[in-house]
Symmetry: C2
Subunit: 168 residues, 2 copies
């Protein structure tokens, strides 16, 4: 038998590790983009959001009495499949990266939806509110990636047709 | 210089390979689910949709005069990062699988949005309509996965708290 509180604590640790990955990936994306500067402001603001989210998750774990000094050694049970995205997002092809971002933001949003539910069942309304707020930020980022797909593809193809560097 | 038609053809091949993976993953998920039979009807109907999508993509490629006999050897340039999901979805934990599904459906929907755009630029309105139709099916499936997150998490935690098998 596992209590809802135990699951909540384990999933918060996973989310913390997930945001650590998100930070690395966003930083790499921002550094590599060359011909698509219009995407930079939103990517940079989400990087700042991501850092704040990690801190908020640490406060949630502290509220549960969890030791946050061992966070870096988390096993990422729930987010173990991030390796695939890591790999995808470490490439330099803007369209491939954007597809992977679309998927990654949805993965994050869905993780927080599960966390909101777990926090409510565990009787932790404050943690539920924090996770709901982060979920809304991830949904908003996912919506932005979605809205970028068409203009980005157009620009990419036009650059390719003109014989210009299009991939990054 | 690469023409929009060349990119369109390459991406249609990637989408075809992606749907092949989707078919394998959905079949495996359907087979493994034990304690969540309420999810089976939607998973099964999406499996049928997926098979029809592959055939529709083959017709699009034929329309472009592409040789479809070599489709199985496709390099999946755009979808190379599917290995991560493959791995994630081959596990037997229902919540992990559902998170991966949420991400995968969004990846698929985003791929078709790019394809719609590429087909229009390549002057192929019929292929654009086909890809838009498939995109709508993927968006609908992504919405369903999203709507499942809360009831699924609740049921999972309740089973865990009762000491019952919850993971599959």
């Amino acid at each position: 038998m596992t209590s809802a509180r135990d699951s909540l604590a384990a999933w918060l640790r996973d989310a913390h590790a997930m945001e650590g990955q998100a930070e690395t990936l966003l930083s790499a994306q921002i550094e590599r983009l060359q011909n698509y500067p219009e995407a930079l402001p939103r990517l940079r603001s989400h990087l700042e959001e991501t850092k704040a989210q990690r801190q908020a998750l640490e406060r949630c774990l502290e509220k549960l009495g969890e030791n946050t000094s061992t966070l870096k050694d988390g096993t990422m049970k729930m987010a173990a499949n991030l390796q695939g995205w890591m790999h995808a997002l470490s490439g330099d092809e803007v369209l491939k990266n954007t597809l992977a971002s679309a998927a990654f933001e949805q993965f994050e949003a869905a993780s927080y939806r599960m966390l909101v539910c777990a926090a409510k069942i565990a009787g932790e309304p404050e943690i539920a509110r924090t996770c709901e707020h982060i979920m809304e930020q991830e949904v908003s980022m996912a919506d932005w990636v979605w809205s970028e797909l068409e203009p980005l593809t157009e620009k990419y193809l036009q650059r390719e047709m003109a014989g210009m560097e299009a991939k990054r």
